[in-house]
Assembly symmetry: C4
Homo-oligomer: 380 residues x 4
C-alpha cells in the first residue's frame, strides 16, 4: 500500500465506472449520477447562493505558478512529517458526516482508500460507522497517513469525556474541534430536499438527546447559547493527551489565540462553503494566517481545507505555507459511485498530479515548495 503506478497517469479502467475517469470533475459527475437527489443536495450543496462554494475552487485556480527549469529532481518524493509522523503525502480526507448514505462501504471504505494512497483521514463526529471499526480497518498499515477525529462541542461534558476516552483508545492520533458552526448553515438545496437518511444510517456517536435542541430565546432559537467559547476550548485541551487542532479558523487573531491556548494547530476552513456564504476563499485566507502563526509559533500546524480539486491546487496550498491540506467532497464523490476503489482513485489522481506539478516546477521535495513558486506581478 502507499506505492503508486508509473507516470503518466492512466485513465481509470471502466470496471464499475462506465466512462473513462481522468480527473476529479469526472468523479463528481459519476457521483451525481449514482446518488439520489437528496443525497446529492446534501453532499454537494453549500450555504445560500453557494458563492463561497464556487469561490473556494476558483481561488486556487486563479493563483499562477512560477516554475524553475533544469533543477536536479533525482530521488524526489512527496513524503512529509507532521505531528511526529512521517507519511507519503501531505493530504487528508476531510471530516464528512453520514458516509454510509453515499455508499455502503461508508467511513470504512474511505479509511481504506486513504490508507492505500498514503493519505490521512479525519473521521467525522457524525460518522455513520463506529469509530473503533474505522480505526481497526487500517491499524495494520504502516505506510498510511494519520487518523484524526473531528468533534463538535457538546454541552454535556461527561458525554464529551466518554467520547474522548473512546477516541484515544481506538488509536486516533489527534482531535479536530470544529469551531465555525455554532448553529446550522442555511443550505437551500438541502432544505428543499430534506435529509431522508436511509434505514440504518445514523450518526452513531451523536448524543441521543442533543442538548443543542433545547429552544430558548437567544439567537437561532437558543442554539447559539450552547455554542462553545474559548474557555471551553481550554478545558478540552486539558482533558486529552492528544494534540488538538481547531477547524474553521478564518481570522489570524483567532489562529494565534488557538495556539496560545495550547492547540497544536489550526485548520483554515470555511466549512467547504456549507455554513456561511460569502466567506473569503480559503486560498485568500491562508497567507495571513500562516504569517501570524509562524511569527509566534513556528512549530504549530497550519492545515487548509476547501476547493482543492487538482494537484496544482495542493501544490499552491503548500506554497502558501500550509503543512498539509484536506480534501472533502471529491473523495466522497469517488466513494459514492465506486466505493473505496473510487475514493482511492481520487486520492491517487491527486498524488500523481502533485508529483507532476513538483517535477514541472523544479521541486524535488515538499520542502522545496515555497512562495517563490507562485507568480505575481510583484514577485521579481
Amino acid at each position: 500500500m502507499g506505492q503508486h503506478l508509473i507516470c503518466p497517469l492512466t485513465p481509470q479502467p471502466a470496471h464499475t465506472m462506465t466512462q473513462p475517469i481522468v480527473n476529479l470533475q469526472d468523479h463528481e459527475h459519476a457521483a451525481q449520477a449514482a446518488l439520489g437527489d437528496a443525497a446529492w443536495a446534501y453532499f454537494s450543496g453549500g450555504a445560500a447562493d453557494e458563492i463561497t462554494l464556487r469561490h473556494n475552487v476558483a481561488a486556487w485556480q486563479n493563483l499562477r505558478l512560477s516554475p524553475r527549469v533544469l533543477q536536479d529532481l533525482r530521488g524526489g518524493h512527496t513524503r512529509c512529517n507532521l505531528l511526529g509522523r512521517e507519511w507519503p503525502m501531505p493530504l487528508l480526507v476531510a471530516p464528512m458526516a453520514y458516509q454510509r448514505w453515499a455508499h455502503a462501504e461508508g467511513e470504512s471504505g474511505m479509511a481504506l482508500a486513504a490508507a492505500a494512497q498514503g493519505c490521512g483521514m479525519v473521521l467525522s463526529h457524525q460518522t455513520s460507522t463506529p469509530l473503533h471499526d474505522v480505526a481497526a480497518m487500517v491499524a495494520s498499515d504502516a505506510e498510511r497517513g494519520p487518523l484524526w477525529f473531528q468533534l463538535y462541542w457538546l454541552a454535556d461534558r461527561g458525554a464529551l469525556r466518554d467520547l474522548l476516552a473512546q477516541v484515544e483508545a481506538a488509536g486516533f492520533e489527534a482531535l479536530v474541534l470544529t469551531v465555525d458552526a455554532p448553529v446550522h448553515g442555511v443550505r437551500d438545496r438541502e432544505r428543499r430536499h430534506g435529509m431522508p437518511l436511509p434505514e440504518g444510517v445514523k450518526a452513531v456517536h451523536w448524543p441521543a438527546s442533543d442538548p443543542k435542541n433545547k429552544p430558548s430565546t437567544g439567537l437561532c432559537g437558543g442554539l447559539a447559547d450552547a455554542a462553545p467559547t474559548w474557555a471551553d476550548v481550554q478545558w478540552l485541551i486539558g482533558q486529552t493527551r492528544l494534540p488538538v487542532l481547531l477547524k474553521g479558523i478564518t481570522h489570524p487573531q483567532d489562529a494565534v489565540q488557538a495556539v496560545k491556548l495550547g492547540a497544536a494547530g489550526v485548520i483554515v476552513s470555511n466549512h467547504g462553503g456549507r455554513v456561511l456564504d460569502t466567506l473569503p476563499a480559503t486560498a485568500e485566507l491562508l497567507p495571513r494566517i500562516v504569517q501570524a502563526v509562524r511569527q509566534h509559533h513556528p512549530q504549530a500546524l497550519v492545515v487548509v481545507d476547501g476547493g482543492i480539486r487538482r494537484g496544482t491546487d495542493l501544490f499552491k496550498a503548500l506554497a502558501l505555507g500550509a503543512d498539509a491540506a484536506l480534501i472533502g467532497r471529491p473523495a466522497l464523490y469517488g466513494l459514492a459511485h465506486a466505493g473505496a476503489r473510487g475514493a482511492a482513485h481520487v486520492l491517487r489522481l491527486m498524488r500523481d498530479e502533485l508529483e507532476a506539478t513538483m517535477a514541472l516546477t523544479g521541486c524535488a521535495h515538499i520542502q522545496d515548495i515555497g512562495i517563490d513558486r507562485l507568480w505575481s506581478l510583484e514577485s521579481f
Copy 2:
C-alpha cells in the same frame, strides 16, 4: 407577534405556495408566475439596461465576511433602537406604489406582515390603500417596527400641508421625502407594457390634477421645473413635528446638507435601480456617506436601501455603518403570490438568516456588528 420559530430555518409549507420556498429568489419566481406581464414589468423592472438593478444585488454579494469564532453568544438578539423606539429587528419594508396591483391585500397586508415579523414599514405616497386604514391595521401591535410615510414633493403646498396633517393624525412616526426622482425614470420594460392598473386600484392620496403634468419648455417637458429644492426641504421640515428623512441620497455632501438643515437622517438609495441607470450600488455608496454624516452629526440616522436579498446582505449593511435597511421588491414578491403570509415569510427568512449570520460571525447583538466583521486584504 414578533416572536419567531426555532432555527434551523424550515422551508415554507406548500399551502398557498406550490413549491418549497426557501429563499427570497424562490419568492421572486413565485411572484413572476402569479403576476401578469405588465405588473411584473412594473414591479421588477429597472431603469434602462438595468445595470444598477443587478449591481445593487451583486455589490452586497461581493463583500466578504470576517467571522470571529468561540465568542460568547448567550442571550443574543437582533433588537434595535431608532428614533427613540426599540423594536425587534433593524429592517423596514421600502415604500412601493400600488401594492393592491400586486395582491388584493395590498398595503394593509404588507403592514400586517411587517408588524408580525417585528419589522418597520414605509408607506408609499402612491399607496393604493388609505393611509388611515394601513395605520389602523397595526396600531395595537406593541412589538411592531415603526411606521413611516413616504412623500413626493407637491408644488401645491396647501395639499402638502393637508397630507401632513393626515399622516401625523394617523400615527405615522416619521416622514420620508424622496428626492431622487424629480422626473420619471426611463424604465424600458414598463414602457413596453404600459401600466394597466386594474379597476379600483389607484394612488388614493395622489393629487387629482398633478401639477407635475403641466408641460413647459424646460427639461423633460417642464417636469423638472416643478422639482423640489433645498429651500423646499427646509420649508417641509418646518411644517411638521415628525422627524424627516431624505431618501435617494447618494452623495456625502448632500447627506451632510440634509442633516444640517434639520433632517433626522438620510436613506442611501438609488431608488432600487428604477430611476437612473449606472448609479453606483448602494453598498458602494454607503461607507462614504456614513463617514461624512457621523463626523459631524453622530446622532443622525443613515438607512440603506437596494439589493438586499439575504441575511448576510443586511448584516453587511449594518457592518458598513447603516442603522437599518429597507427591503423592497422581495417583500412585494411575497405579497404578490401569497398575500400578507408571503410577505411575512420573506421578512422571517431575513430574520432567521440575520440571526444565523450573527451567530456564525460571533456577534451576539446588533451593536457588535462592526466594520471589522468585513474582510479585506487591507484589514489585518
Copy 3:
C-alpha cells in the same frame, strides 16, 4: 422642428415598426430584421474579433454617475454652442458610407432626421447621395445642428481641391479629415459576405480610379504609401476657409499636434471598432486627450465617437470633457428599418434620455455637466 414631446418617453407607435421600440437596442434588432445579411454585416461589423466594438459600449456603461439632489432645474435645456453656432443638443450623426444601401431615403433621410431633432450631421466622403442634395434638404431649418463633411485623404490634390470647393459652396460648416484608416480594416464578417452594393448605390464623390489601388511593394501592397502625413494635413488646412477637425485621434500628443497645426479640433474615435481591433474604448481615451488639448488650446474642440447608446452615455462623454459626441450605427439602424422617421426616433430617444439624466443628476444646463458628476472611489 427641433421641439420635442412631453416626458416621460413614450414608446414609438407601431406604424412601420412591428413592435414597441423603446430604446436603441430595439432599433438595432429591427434593423437586423430589415437588412440583408451582407448589409447587416457591413454596417454592424467590426474589425477582427470585435473586441473594441463591444468595449466601446461597455466602457460608457461602466462609468458610474454621481448625482446631486434638490438642485434648481427651472428653465433647464440642452442647448450648446460650437464653432460659433448655437443648436439644440451636442450630438451629431457620425459619417457612414452608403446609407442608401440601408434605406432608400439614404443620406437625405438621415439629414432630415438630424435636423428635425436639432442634431448635427457629418456627411461621409463615401456618401451615396450627392452632397448638394443633402445640404439643400435641410438648408431652411434654422434650428438644425451643424452640417459637416468628412474626407478621406486623396493622393490627387487637384481632385481634393475640387471636392473642397463643392463642399464649401454647398454650405457645409466644417471639414472632418479621417486619419485613422490609411489602409482597410480587417472586418471578418464583411469579408465573409462581400459588399454586394445594390444597383444604383455607389460612393458618388469617390474618385473613379482610386489612386489607393495602385499596388506597390510597401505595407499592404502599397496602400500605406498613399496614406496622408502631417504635412498633408497642413496643406489641407491651408486650402480651405472651413474649420478642419481630425477624426480618429487616440493619442494625446497627436491631438495636440493637430491643434498646433491649425485644426479646429479633434474627434476622439477608434472608427467605431471597424478598423483596428483591441484599440482602447473611446471612453478610456477621452480624458487624457481632453486634458492635453485643454492645457494648451482651451478653445479647440474635442468631440468623441463610439459606443454611445444611451442618454447616460452622452452625459458621461460631456462630463469627461467632450464638447459634443457623434452617434453612428444606432442612427443608421433607425434609418434602415423606418427611414428618416426611424433615425429621428433614435435621436429623439437620445434627447429625452439626456434630459432625464440631466434632471436626475441635478444639471440644468450642459455646462453644469462636469467631472464631479461621475462617481469614483477617489472622488470624495
Copy 4:
C-alpha cells in the same frame, strides 16, 4: 515565394475548404471537422482545466494598442534580421509532434508553407518525417525564414551526439532545447482518447527504447530522474556549432542563466498550455524576461510562443520586446484540413494582419514597433 497579394485581405476561395475562411478561428473549426476525435484531442488539448490554454489567447487580446496617426509609411515592410539572417517576417512555426497524423503532407507540407510565406520553422524532435527530407524540401528557397530543430534531452549522450550531427549536416540553423517538460503533462482530453497513431506515423528520430521509460522510485515513477539539468545544457552547448535556444523559459532568472551559459537566446513559452496548467500567459511573462535579458545580454534573442491568433497579437509580442514569435496550433489546423496550402493561408493571414496593424499604428518597419505602441493608463 515570399511575395504576397494586394491588401485588403481576401477570403480564401473554397477549393478544398467548404466555407469562406477569413481568420485563424475558421481554420480551427475546419480542422476540428477534418480530424478524428483523438487527433483533435491531441492537437487542440491542453493540460488539466485548460486555464493557461485559454489565458494565453486572452492575454494578447487584453493588451490595448496605442497608434500614432499620419506617420510616413512609404517603403514600409516586415523584414527582420535574426541570428545573422534577414527574412521576410519575424514568425516561425512552433515545433509540433506527429504532423503526419494531422495530414499526409505532414512536416514537409508545413515546411513548404512556412517557406512560401517567408516564415521560419522549428522541426519537432518528434517529427514524423525524416529531418533530411524536411530540410531538403525547402533548401532552394532563398527568401524562406530559418529552419531550426527542437530537441528533448536524451539520457543517452551518444544518441544525442548522433542526432546533432544529422541536424547540422541537414542544414538546420539552430537548436531549440525544450526544458519545460521533464515529465508528461496531465492532458485530460488526450487521456480520454488515447493516442491511436495511424499506421506508418511515428516519431522517426525518437530513440527506440526511450531511457525515460525506466521506472524508478522518484517523482512520476522515476521519469523526473532522467530530466536534464543546467549542467546538461552546458554540455550540449559545447557539443554543437549551432546556436542553442532554451524553450519553455518562464522565469527571468532562468533566462539570464541560460544566456550566461552560452545560449543564443530563450523562447518564452508555457508549452502552449499543454504541460502544466495555471502557468501565467506568455504575454504576462514576456516583459520581465525581456527586461532581465536585455539588461545584461542585449544581443541574446527573446522569442515568444503561445496564444498568438491575430496580427495584432504578433505586433504586441514585438512591442513587448520579443525578437520573433512562434505560432503552433493554428498552422497545424491549416495543415490538417488543407495541407501545405492551408498552413500557408494561416501564415499569410498573419502577414496581412501584421502589415495592417503596422500601417494602422504608424509603424513602417519592425523596429518602429516599441512599447509606446501599447496603451496603458500609466503610459502618458
